[in-house]
Symmetry: C3
Subunit: 137 residues, 3 copies
């Protein structure tokens, strides 16, 4: 059985948003109890991650770490049409994940207690982001 549904999420600029409940809502609609869910962000300057859902400082520190790995406005970049955050956003997206597949049972994502699924906006300004969720079971 296959179910597929789009999600649109408006971000508020750089930072991550917990989308676990939104994905679980798609799972409920699908009626699929056991299998996998694939979540795909249809953009190249945002991404997905699974990380701690309790202390927001974890995600703050991830911003700090990723800002070192792929700094804004590096003079070595050639691609800077859309500003200082443009190339950094593409690189941070590649260093995390554009598409994520997770286990499903009893109609819900099977995550650990402290895990959440986050949409990670890498552009400075808020964007309207399209995601596609595909459930197989």
């Amino acid at each position: 059985m296959v179910a597929q549904q789009g999600l649109e999420i408006t971000t508020r600029g750089r930072g991550s948003l917990d989308i676990t409940a939104a994905v679980n809502a798609v799972l409920r609609d699908s009626g699929i109890g056991c299998g996998i869910a694939n979540i795909c962000v249809q953009h190249t300057s945002a991404s997905l991650m699974v990380t701690e859902n309790a202390d927001p400082d974890v995600r703050r520190d991830l911003e700090t770490i990723f800002s070192r790995l792929a700094p804004d406005g590096d003079p070595a970049y050639r691609h800077d049409l859309e500003g200082e955050d443009d190339m950094a956003a593409h690189a941070r997206s590649v260093l995390s994940e554009v598409s994520l597949t997770l286990p499903v049972a009893e109609g819900r994502l099977q995550l650990g207690t402290w895990q959440g699924v986050f949409l990670w906006e890498h552009r400075s300004h808020g964007q309207r982001r399209r995601l596609l969720v595909t459930v197989i079971g």
Copy 2:
């Protein structure tokens, strides 16, 4: 057809363990010959990787590289409740992968000759780690 089975693996502290045979054992139990297997670590300070299974120095060097990308005890971190390795472990988990989907044929993972699947412990001390393997075919 869908099959789902948990795996519990006790790590010995920071480092990686080859879990290819354990995943292939789940595949044998599932009876599914052709399809995909999703492996998901239900923790935020351990992860999965596919890398070389021959020379253990590859995984030693990966520790060296990841210890530069997300160093222990960085004074910029705010999240350090569980010690110097706490935030570094979360970041290394995001830089690698919490969930991995691999092809299956003839009831086995279809990896290249030199590829193995590894559970990567990022905490200093050994932990009991839960994984969930979902097979679709």
Copy 3:
């Protein structure tokens, strides 16, 4: 329904090649309209990424960034049997992705307008790379 097909791609040394059309051709052959496609590189020194398909400078800048994160010939590496690019290639493969799962609808990958799927060669010299595409729907 499950379909599985190998792809062989000869790279021209370090750099990335757009394989979106090759994957879509496998999807056409499979006859599967809606579901997911898993693409897996059966090597430990090449990888996959989804990134911008328009300005090739994005992928040039990604090389620049990854060459800092996992430099060639670092004296700290122990694994250097196959040359200065050997360990760097393994690390860049782990930092990106060996296996990628993407949504399928109407018999095609469901990517955003500016997204392409790229095979990323991390060795200095061209190689013959085997990929396995598994379609579930």
